[in-house]
Symmetry: C2
Subunit: 201 residues, 2 copies
Amino acid sequence: MTEDRRSRVDGARTRAVILRESVAMATIDGLEGLSIGNLAKAAGMSKSGVYAHFGSKQDLQLATVEEAGRIFREEVVAPALVAPAGVGQLVALCDAFCEHLRRRAFPGGCFFAGAALEMGTRPGPVKDRVAAFQGALMELIRQFADTAIAQHELAADEKPELVAFEVNGIILAADTTYVLHDDPGVLEVARHVIRRRLGVS
Amino acid sequence: MTEDRRSRVDGARTRAVILRESVAMATIDGLEGLSIGNLAKAAGMSKSGVYAHFGSKQDLQLATVEEAGRIFREEVVAPALVAPAGVGQLVALCDAFCEHLRRRAFPGGCFFAGAALEMGTRPGPVKDRVAAFQGALMELIRQFADTAIAQHELAADEKPELVAFEVNGIILAADTTYVLHDDPGVLEVARHVIRRRLGVS
DNA sequence: CCTACCGATCGGTAGG
DNA sequence: CCTACCGATCGGTAGG
């Protein structure tokens, strides 16, 4: 059997290149503002090259959301999971998120914060995936808070749902303010706020 | 002197109609995704009718930001200003914001939350106005917190900047979650969270 | 405020 | 993965 001139490995690599650009561009132009022509140019190919990997703009948007989720889990969720259970995980999540912003993993800040506001009023599978991702993150934070309460690191009358809401708010405030004013100082403020709120150091 | 067939009053009214649609559409499509053709259709006129009032898309975006600011001051800031100074104003601001969301003043939630993330990476006069508005709101919240500390409603070691950051976070979490899941329950959560954080009732 | 138009770009397809 | 093309829509202008 002769090898195909373009192997499946090459195809997968090209797909990965497209998606890396797509996630980055989407944090600047939005999932809707993302243009396949510009994306093809950034990936160094023609429009039809992109269409060879994604049959429609919606397919591309869905794949972009999944890739952004993969990166978020890798850079923000994973460090939290290996931290000491309870308050330690809440602080680690917030710190990892701030580091994610500081090192400009995406040029336009947190992918999901932008996607949530952009797609919130656009019913369809893309919004559903974004909402599912946000819901899963909130559930994870709630579990961290639950453990923190069980370990008496937080007061017994704290409600995990409310703690999760506040932690999410701190994360969103860090993202919005950092993106808008480009001031690393806001990340230090966020670190300080989460520690004070959780009664750490 | 004979009257003009179209008086200045009519012109101002038409401009107001355009801007009302523009602010609403921008919370769905974004300030960049907003199209002058669609806007003209929504306002019941031709594209050139819109261009008669706004010379360019950027002019329209700037006027749209100002109109959104006027509405935000009217619906969210004004109720806070007439509330009891200190913690009362912080709670009133948050309540007015939640009511602003609940009654769907704009179809896509808080105009400035979306505009901040969309324009954050697009340097220019539009981003500058959005950033200035966000900065002014943060400064107002900081002053409310300052008064609350001076009146001993908040602990003496609280930092106004950090309280402002947290209140902003609660507002952003309410907006993002409400837009994404369309659940009025999150507004009750936000009201509960802000009161618990500030030690009220 | 209108009609009529401009070049550029959009998402997508045909055919290879 | 390519070139070449489609109809639709973009921001904007001319001339009234």
